[in-house]
């Protein structure tokens, strides 16, 4: 059994002109080296400071880090490419040049929390948070690590004139022997558009991995509201559900915010993500009871 034992949320919205930026990295990380870090690395590192103590109760080589992001790279690359096309490679900051590679966010986080286990960067658009949680879960089950820190961070490229929501949500996962927190279950699959297969296999969704009721259903999708796939998922989840459908964009942090809220409220719920490109993922959480094996 995989358990989410702690969450931390650090998100906000900034106006298009940048005035009133909600995030001050120095407040969390101090001055030394902080200002040169890309914003995604600042957010992820700062979010980790909000987690309760305890990550280090397992040895450093038995801790693992997962970072899910689908917008940090684009934002960073655009900033860099604007410089490259004008000034060539010599115009780049040598301190920031390594961050063209999105995996450095997880590496920086691993350094901050002194994690010598695997540091995995997941970049699947839309379902990356579910992938990161599932990857951490399977690594815990396989005995690769004993504790996992999963962070979802986004720094979207601003669309002209629109305010930008960015931030990070972090989760701590453990395996076995837990008597509190929230039990986690993740299922994933793929159905290519037009392939003729069910967008989400009924037999997969109708499993009963958890006892009890899952009356709260959150769906994140970029499918049209009238799409039969969307309705089939709502139908499959059963009668009497309380469903809310959110528009799925490239920014996964909204999924993280909703999941963290449910966990903090100790509320059993299902979060479904369905992409028009074919990926789907189902995250379920429910409170751990003391008798759960």
């Amino acid at each position: 059994m995989t358990n989410i034992s702690a969450v931390a949320t650090l998100t906000g919205t900034t106006t298009p002109d940048g005035v009133g930026d909600w995030f001050s990295p120095v407040d969390f990380l101090g001055k030394r080296g902080t200002r040169l870090l890309p914003r995604g690395a600042q957010l992820t590192a700062a979010c980790a400071t909000l987690l309760p103590a305890g990550l280090d109760s397992v040895p450093a080589h038995r801790r693992g880090v997962w970072v899910a992001t689908s917008t940090f790279a684009e934002q960073m690359h655009e900033t860099m490419d604007d410089i490259i096309r004008v000034d060539g490679s010599d115009g780049l900051s040598p301190a920031q040049a390594p961050y063209f590679s999105v995996n450095l966010v997880a590496s920086r986080l691993s350094k901050d929390v002194q994690s010598h286990g695997m540091a995995t960067t997941i970049t699947t658009p839309g379902t990356g948070l579910a992938d990161a949680l599932a990857s951490a879960q399977s690594a815990l089950r396989a005995g690769r690590v004993d504790r996992a820190l999963v962070a979802c961070t986004e720094v979207p490229t601003p669309a002209d004139g629109d305010p930008v929501t960015d931030g990070c949500v972090s989760f701590v996962l453990d395996q076995d022997g837990v008597t509190e927190g929230m039990q986690l279950s993740v299922l994933r699959g793929f159905a290519a558009p037009g392939s003729g297969t069910a967008c989400v296999p009924p037999e997969t969704v109708q499993d009963h991995a958890f006892d009890g009721e899952h009356r709260d259903l959150l769906v994140f999708t970029d499918l049209p509201h009238s799409d039969p796939c969307l309705h089939s998922v709502l139908d499959l989840e059963g009668e009497g559900i309380h469903a809310r459908v959110h528009r799925l964009g490239p920014n996964m942090v909204q999924q993280g915010i909703e999941l963290a809220r449910l966990i903090e409220q100790r509320q059993a719920a299902t979060l479904f993500t369905i992409r028009a490109s074919g990926q789907w993922a189902r995250i379920r959480v429910q409170p751990v009871t003391g008798s759960t094996p």
């Binding site: 450093a60 080589h61 689908s70 917008t71 790279a73 690359h77 655009e78 860099m80 490419d81 604007d82 490259i84 060539g88 490679s89 010599d90 780049l92 040598p94 040049a97 390594p98 063209f100 590679s101 999105v102 995996n103 450095l104 997880a106 590496s107 920086r108 691993s110 350094k111 002194q114 010598h116 286990g117 695997m118 540091a119 995995t120 960067t121 997941i122 970049t123 699947t124 658009p125 379902t127 990356g128 992938d131 990857s135 399977s138 690594a139 089950r141 396989a142 690769r144 490229t157 601003p158 669309a159 994933r188 699959g189 793929f190 159905a191 558009p193 490239p250 490109s277 074919g278 990926q279």
Partner: protein, 375 residues
């Protein structure tokens, strides 16, 4: 960890500077045939613009997804010849790529587009759609070790029963941003990619795609090879340089070999990038841990294919296992003392256990152990 059983590699595929199949790759490994090209990008001014571009291949454009699809189709075709049937089985796709479809975003920005929309990491879903995947489809971006991390996640998926077969793909294409940033870090060598030589001065990028079909239970009785062990770690130290003392790299290698349950490693496809620090650390590791093993420097032949490199190394390891020999290494100059025993210039008959190392800056370390036979 009792259920971490060996997994079958039932198909391989490769697109690279050497050509568009794994047979082309083996031919190039045996003849040391490769070539670099100066990339033609009007928007990039940088000291080093040489690359091992993918050889003319039957793909629409130079994109990671196109390379990955071509390699994936070869792997699936080979597996089908061995008895693999996709029908009714959950086929997952796990892709390792550092830059995904960044080339497309580069091009659009070069044409004046601002705030290019859409993720660059659509490589996995494009490959998944092309091969008819039904299981999880995951994009992993651990830079130069992305393909190895994809292999690890694929193994975890199979052990957890989340998939019946996993197509692991590493794919990378030219990226202006990546080449510019490596230039800024003085990490490229205009003289070539010269792993483990005294004069090495950096790496050179390459393009390509590698693919491996991995299965736990299969009707294929004669797999190409077995994945026997895998281990991963993070230095949690310097952002770009390997950790002093290389404790995590050593632990990773030892754990993978222990999991494999083998008494010796006969050959190694090292990470071997040609950078000063990586090669120093890795040569020390290999000369002390497996002093009798034969090394094959794949990057001297294909360049550093980033997120594709580890899967291409696995494909090379499978070919070495199949043919029972390491080809002679491309001649790149005087070798470091720690590498002279391992890096042979003529072919060498070997046993059936081959290790693959993959490292990335940010201190991401991986070792995979493959075997011709199950121990």
């Amino acid at each position: 960890m009792t259920y971490r059983t060996p997994l079958r590699v039932t198909g391989i595929g490769a697109v690279s500077n050497a050509g568009h199949t794994s047979a082309h790759l083996w031919d190039a490994m045996c003849t040391s045939a490769s070539s670099t090209t100066v990339v033609d990008d009007k928007d990039l001014v940088a000291p080093v613009l040489d690359m091992f571009l993918a050889a003319p291949v039957p793909v629409v454009e130079h994109s990671a997804a196109e390379f990955g699809i071509a390699a994936a189709r070869e792997a699936l075709s080979q597996a089908a010849d061995g008895g693999f049937e996709a029908e009714g089985r959950r086929l997952a796709v796990v892709v390792g790529t550092g830059m995904g479809e960044a080339a497309g975003h580069d091009a659009r920005r070069g044409q004046g587009e601002r705030h290019v929309s859409g993720s660059i990491f659509t490589t996995a879903e494009r490959i998944a759609a092309a091969v008819g995947a039904t299981g999880p489809v995951v994009s992993i971006s651990n830079a130069c070790a992305a393909g190895a991390y994809a292999m690890g996640h694929a193994a975890d998926l199979l052990w957890a029963g989340e998939a019946d077969a996993v197509l692991v793909v590493g794919a990378e294409a030219y990226s202006r941003v990546a080449v510019a940033c490596f230039n800024r870090m003085n990490a490229l060598d205009g003289e070539g990619c010269r792993p483990f030589t005294e004069e090495r001065a950096g790496t050179l990028f390459g393009e390509g795609g590698g693919a491996v079909l991995l299965e736990r239970d299969s009707s294929c009785t004669t797999p190409v090879a077995w994945l026997l062990g895998s281990a991963f770690s993070c230095d949690a130290a310097h952002l770009t340089a390997p950790e002093e003392g290389a404790a995590q790299i050593q632990r990773t290698f030892d754990e993978a070999v222990t999991e494999a349950g083998v008494s010796t490693v006969d050959a190694v496809v090292p990470h071997g990038t040609g950078t000063r620090l990586n090669d120093a650390v890795e040569a020390e590791l290999l000369s002390s841990r497996v002093p009798d093993a034969a090394w094959f420097n794949l990057k001297a032949l294909l360049g550093h294919t980033g997120g594709a490199s580890a899967v291409l190394s696995v494909v090379a390891a499978c070919l070495i296992a199949t043919y029972g020999k390491t080809p002679g290494n491309p001649e790149s100059g005087a070798l470091m003392p720690q590498a002279t025993a391992g890096v042979g210039l003529s072919e060498r008959a070997i046993g059936g256990v081959i290790a693959v190392n993959a490292y990335a800056f940010g201190g991401n370390n991986a070792t995979l152990v493959l075997g011709k036979e199950r121990p």
